[in-house]
């Protein structure tokens, strides 16, 4: 028997519904309801195997715990039940009383007060006394179902879910199933997801029953379950959760935690559509987030009119992200070496290892580039090289430690092919290589070298590069360690629509398993000067078609980057209306694509102008897509 502990708020009922009302797992789980703080205690004291907990409660032992994928209590804006209530505007508050029942909300309000530039005194109080404490310039953080009956009594109501979204641009995760890493099986995970699925279908009845018991309006309760609470736990929610944890740790409000990791979960099986959906139906459904089958993806790509595809992708973007914001990052692409053994036909950057014209950047050269990056407001280094046979794991460990010790920059590197090479060179497993690199300071992996994830194409254009399976396996292992990565696709190698959708499908399947991809970035092959003569269509219209299809097909990868570096600023800008929500990087340096003829340069100011002219508000972000 697996011992489950959960809180009994309205918003948890859909999660436990299948267990309590659907007859699920009666022989597998014993479920007890308790206060949030007691649930955490039960897990830490090993009186529970799995508890529905806020993620800040994991403490320094986070690495011993795992999360159940796909199930959370989260919000994408207004949450409705985490409120700062007062009689005066927040600037005039002298005291904020804190509801003792939720530690996470207490941390959140303190972070937000700093962001708002106000410094009230915080005073913890019991859950039952909290509303009465709101007097004059003393406000209170009120959480849970109490909000339904009291919020309307106060002239000033600040919704913390909404405030978080406006501050950071991401979702907020209030609670998720947390358990010890070896206790929960694949079947347990499947059943917990099923329980939620049943609960989501029963939201009307759940709201009705709750309203009856508590003397509330059932419509209000139902709207809360449908519109405020967002029950998924995927990549977008992980981004929000990590942003909260790191901000809270930086502010000294919680202990630093390691990365959040998932239990291995089964890929959600998609029910095959019962009848063939028309193109219009497919577009309308996909715009709302419904999943496309492989066949439907191919059909949309080959048959949907461009503008219809664009409009559906635009609608999907607006549902996934703050609808009027486009993000970008300032980082620098550092190619630490150009010596390479993979000899890809399409590459114009590499020099064969051991031949004249190869380089490895010296420490001084690198330090200068990093210092310039910091001076220009950069927050990250995209570090990729050739696959240089002279460089072993120790080189990278030293390099990363040197970078981390001297510069406040995130390390986005290395790509799967480089990881695979290190694993072979050092006779270490891929997880072992990744673990050592992460320990040395690697923050995330770029999705480079994916080209087309179909071995029929790969064997033709890059026979010495890792196979589709290996590329995905490196990403899988990285995600399991809590590292996040991007995914890319380079098209225009003469692949068919089926190859393209194969690529998207493989990424989506892995994302279902790991939720580790933060973003997807497609672009077309830049042929000039490479060994591959350009025969394929790499025109603007095809790029926009691929971009829009990617937005619709990759329902669980939150961000879609336009690639102005390769496609040009004009097409990058138009791409923002074909599904793209991120303008990529104000790159200080780019070598590989520049060698193949793409020579576009944009400053952060140029990028902001392009974003504004497309009708969006530009926001700078970091690798977690957190606004900064």
């Amino acid at each position: 028997m697996l011992r489950l502990a959960a809180v009994s708020f309205l918003n948890t009922k859909p999660i436990t519904h299948g267990l309590t009302h659907g007859g699920l797992g009666a022989d597998r789980f014993s479920l007890t309801f308790d206060l949030p703080s007691r649930c955490a205690e039960a897990l830490h004291a090993d009186r529970a195997d799995l508890a529905l907990l806020p993620l800040g409660a994991l403490g320094p032992h986070a690495s011993a715990f795992r999360l159940v994928p796909g199930v959370a209590i989260a919000s994408r804006g207004k949450v409705g039940t985490v409120l700062l209530l007062s009689h005066v505007p927040r600037e005039q508050l002298s005291v904020i009383h804190l509801d003792g029942a939720s530690r996470t909300s207490q941390v959140l309000i303190q972070l937000l007060c700093r962001a708002w530039g106000i410094t009230p005194r915080f005073s913890p109080l019991g859950h039952d006394q909290i509303v009465d404490a709101i007097q004059a310039t003393e406000g209170a953080l009120v959480i849970g179902d109490a909000c339904f009956s009291v919020a309307h009594q106060f002239p000033y109501v600040y919704d913390l879910g909404e405030a978080w979204a406006e501050w950071v641009g991401l979702r907020f995760v209030y609670a998720a199933w947390v358990g010890r890493k070896d206790r929960v099986s694949l079947d347990d995970v499947r059943m917990l997801r099923e329980s939620l699925a049943l609960g989501l279908q029963a939201r009307t009845e759940i709201a009705q029953a709750f309203a009856n018991t508590n003397g509330l309006d059932p419509a209000v309760c139902e709207r809360y379950l449908r519109e405020n609470i967002h029950y998924d736990l995927g990549s977008a929610e992980l981004c929000g959760a990590q942003a909260f944890l790191s901000r809270a740790a930086d502010a000294g409000l919680i202990q630093t935690q390691g990365p959040l990791r998932f239990f291995s979960g089964p890929s959600p099986t998609q029910a095959a559509p019962t009848s063939a959906r028309s193109i219009d139906r497919l577009l309308a459904d996909a715009a709302k987030g419904a999943r496309l089958s492989h066949e439907e993806g191919v059909r949309l790509y080959t048959q949907a009119p461009l503008m219809d595809l664009g409009q559906a992708a635009d609608e999907r973007r607006a549902r996934l992200h703050p609808p009027n914001v486009v993000t970008y990052i300032i980082d620098r692409n550092v190619n630490y070496t150009n010596a390479c053994t993979t000899a890809c036909q399409f590459c114009n950057f590499y020099r064969p290892a051991g031949t004249p014209g190869t380089y490895v950047l010296s420490r001084d050269e690198l330090a200068q580039k990093l210092a310039e990056t910091v001076a220009l407001g950069g927050v990250q280094i995209l570090l990729q090289g050739g696959v240089n046979p002279d460089l072993g794991l120790a080189y990278y460990e030293d390099l990363f430690r040197f970078m981390k010790a001297n510069f406040p920059l995130a390390i986005h590197g290395l790509s799967p092919e480089e990881i695979r090479f290190l694993s072979e060179k050092e006779s270490l497993s891929i997880p072992a290589v990744l673990e050592r690199l992460a320990a040395a300071g690697m923050d995330s992996l770029p999705g480079g070298g994916a080209e087309i994830l179909d071995d029929e194409i790969r064997s033709r254009i890059s026979p010495h590069k890792c196979s589709t399976d290996t590329w995905l396996e490196v990403m899988r292992q990285a995600h399991r360690l809590g590292l996040r990565s991007t995914g890319t696709m380079v098209f225009g190698f003469g692949e068919t629509p089926v190859h393209l959708v194969n690529h998207l499908d493989r990424l989506r399947s892995l994302q279902d398993e790991t939720a580790g991809f933060t973003a997807f970035i497609p672009w077309s092959f830049q042929a000039e000067g490479t060994k591959l003569p350009l025969r394929d269509d790499t025109s603007a219209a095809r790029y926009l078609r691929v971009l829009a299809l990617s937005r619709l097909y990759l329902d669980t990868i939150p961000n879609l980057q336009v690639s102005w570096v390769t496609m040009g600023p004009a097409l990058g800008q138009i791409g923002l209306r074909f599904g793209g929500n991120d303008f990529g990087s104000a790159m200080i340096e780019e070598n590989v694509v520049a060698q193949a003829g793409a020579v576009f340069r944009l400053s952060a100011q140029d990028i902001e102008r392009l974003i504004r002219a497309a009708g969006f508000i530009p926001r700078r972000r970091n690798m977690r897509y957190e606004w900064i």
Partner: protein
């Protein structure tokens, strides 16, 4: 607001000035584009037109000194100043034809001169026509025609009749820039004014000379002034029905006195194309002039209301002097490929759109 305008536009009713402005300001570019595309497809289906043309600029010496121009020289002794002889001009066309290239139209525009006889210009028209009898001569913007009228002391009508008698087939749409006097005073003070520009086209249409119309956007004008420009063109078209195509042209800032201001972005250009299609429903064609827009934007514009890609444009000079990064020439097969890659059916046309031929992309 958008939905009401949408219904009206879809029914083909003329939009008001305010509605044109509201469309331009509609935040969702792809929605705006889809609406323009609806109107475009109703009229032209999947077809996108192009032609095989040659640009000849007989002279770059010009008395007008427009701040927007990167091309002109004031005096004949300045470096780079040139005047083509009749033989030079005809030689350019002959060279193309002898190389086996198809050219169905010559686009002939140049600087404003006071020191050349009118016969120089009539001879150019008749000489080019004689070199390739089937060819269409699309020559002299309204600004040049009006200038001829001033310099040679003949009425606009007589000037046009003389050119027509020499073989002129149609007028290009240049020199319209922005009609608003406030802006015209600053960017092209010595060009004819909006009324004069319109009157030249009115007269041409009456004489059976069809023409195009342009608008240069992205200098100093407001959105309202852009829409006002469109509305004035629409009014003339209601009267004469002589315009074949409208060509919105984003301003290129290099090498001119206006300089130091960013070029309109792709999103603004597509917005302008779409609004043009929707406001100018009585002008048959909206042209995505690839030389000015750039290939990616021009190709995309075929889904935002444009139905014409212009032509092969051998020897374009004016935009390239202003920093355009586009190629000097695109072979017809390449244009057809780009159009087909956009999911449109490439159709080669003649100048008057009276002969159309589907081309395999």
């Amino acid at each position: 607001m958008f939905d009401a305008i949408k219904d009206k536009a879809a029914r083909g009713e003329p939009l008001s000035f305010d509605e044109g402005v509201a469309l331009y300001r509609h935040p969702n570019l792809v929605e705006l584009g889809a609406l323009a595309n609806l109107v475009r497809e109703k009229r032209h289906g999947d077809r996108a037109y192009f032609n095989r043309n040659l640009h000849i600029n007989p002279t770059n010496i010009c008395i007008a000194s427009c701040t927007l121009c990167s091309y002109s020289r004031k005096r004949a002794d300045e470096p780079g100043a040139f005047t083509l002889s009749l033989a030079d001009a005809v030689g350019k066309l002959r060279a193309r034809l002898e190389a086996g290239q198809v050219v169905t139209e010559v686009h002939l525009v140049g600087g404003l001169r006071e020191d050349l006889p009118f016969s120089y210009f009539t001879d150019l028209v008749s000489g080019l026509k004689a070199a390739s009898p089937g060819i269409a001569i699309k020559a002299f913007s309204a600004v040049e025609i009006f200038h001829f009228h001033r310099v040679y002391g003949q009425s606009v009508e007589d000037i046009l009749r003389a050119l027509q008698a020499s073989g002129l087939d149609s007028l290009p749409g240049g020199g319209a820039e922005i009609f608003a006097p406030r802006v015209r005073r600053q960017i092209c003070p010595n060009k004819c004014d909006a009324d004069q520009w319109i009157d030249v086209h009115r007269t041409a249409h009456r004489l059976g000379l069809p023409s195009n119309a342009t608008m240069l956007f992205g200098t100093l004008e407001t959105v309202e002034e852009r829409v006002e420009h469109l509305v004035r063109l629409r009014a003339l078209q209601t009267e004469t029905n002589g315009f074949l195509a409208f060509i919105p042209l984003p301003f290129h800032p290099e090498n001119n006195a206006l300089g130091d201001r960013p070029m309109p972005t792709a999103a603004e250009t597509l917005r302008m194309v779409a609004v043009s299609r929707l406001v100018l429903q009585n002008i048959p064609h909206i042209k995505a002039y690839w030389v000015s827009l750039g290939l990616p934007v021009a190709q995309t514009a075929l889904w935002f209301g444009a139905d014409d890609f212009d032509g092969t444009v051998s020897e374009e000079k004016i935009y390239h002097q202003a920093g355009a990064q586009t190629p000097q020439v695109l072979p017809g097969a390449e244009i057809a490929r780009i159009i087909a890659a956009a999911g449109r059916v490439p159709v080669e046309r003649n100048t008057l759109y009276t002969r159309l031929e589907e081309v395999k992309g």
